[in-house]
């Protein structure tokens, strides 16, 4: 768009968003300019606020603009004594939506990945170790992803827990509810078989 350097800059800048290529950047820019300038201004303000003010919770590392997040400061959840370890803040939401968990979380913001130079301290395990040492915890639920890296990370944290005498559990892997057996991959099916439980009549 030789006609507008500002439009050019906007289209380039939109491409910092994941999944946005040149075509959709153009579509987005035109849409905002033609139909939703106030939405574009609100987005600019929301970006500025979020980028400059959101940090990580001192206790669980999730995104928050406070020093300690609302879940960590909730006394009921503190008394619960269980910590659920997840890879990303999005996973907290997923677990919260089940309504099955009333404890607190710890967000790794990734997983161990020695080849990429991501070691224990990079995923906050120094902070977690401190918590294992000082808090009265009854259980640590390892809810990292069922990937090679997620499993390795779970194993590493499990041994950390044993060191401090805190029980570690791993979420069950298996056939997704509503899924079809023939569509499930072999590894999942193996996990599903190995993790079989007595039938409840």
């Amino acid at each position: 768009m030789q006609s507008s350097p500002l439009l050019e800059t906007l289209m380039e800048s939109l491409r910092c968003l994941p999944g946005v290529g040149p075509k959709s950047a153009q579509r987005m820019a035109f849409h905002l300019l033609q139909r939703d300038r106030s939405g574009g201004m609100r987005l600019a303000q929301a970006l500025t606020n979020a980028m400059s003010e959101i940090g990580h919770c001192e206790q669980c590392r999730t995104f928050t603009e406070k020093e300690v997040c609302a879940i960590c400061t909730n006394s009921r959840r503190q008394e619960n004594g269980i910590i659920c370890i997840v890879e990303s803040p999005a996973d907290i939401q997923a677990v919260e939506q089940t309504g099955q968990f009333a404890g607190r979380y710890f967000v790794l913001m990734g997983h161990l990945s020695p080849l990429d130079g991501i070691g224990p301290d990079d995923i906050g395990l120094d902070i977690l170790e401190q918590r294992l040492q000082t808090e009265t915890l009854t259980e640590v639920i390892l809810a990292t992803n069922p990937t090679v890296e997620g499993e390795a990370t779970a194993n590493f944290i499990a041994s950390l827990c044993r060191q401090y005498g805190v029980e570690a559990t791993r979420i069950a892997h298996g056939v997704p509810v509503g899924g079809e057996l023939e569509l499930v991959d072999g590894t999942t099916l193996s996990h599903s078989l190995a993790g079989r439980q007595k039938f409840k009549y």
Copy 2:
């Protein structure tokens, strides 16, 4: 994300972008916070500048932060005497990329759509009429989309041109170059047959 109202606001604001639902808004927000805060800040600035400073060219209506855009002020293009009428600024880019056109443009920013209350003045035809009246034009190329609305709009503008004694032409419709005949729809094929030209040996 009860842990961060600012993050909540950011995810909501991102949804003003076309094609962005709750899932991708979350993915975008997390990506920026975790990996590209400077990109997020640049995007905020680009949005603010674009939304507040980009207007429409007084002569062709395309997006520009100047009163008259670079194409319209180009004296070579003025001397060319041909105006190509398109529906959106993106179409200018498409035509420019062919390298086949050296005239100026007129951007409708839409098409006639009486049912939606979009009449001639809403697509700038009052401005176009003024130009037909005052400028020395040799041809107006109607490059609106080959849709029902695009055709109706082209017809309307063609009669406007006739009124002012300016020749109007319509871009050719037909089988796309590199396309397969059997994959082309019937209407396109009819246009292609009706618009057939003598074979050039």
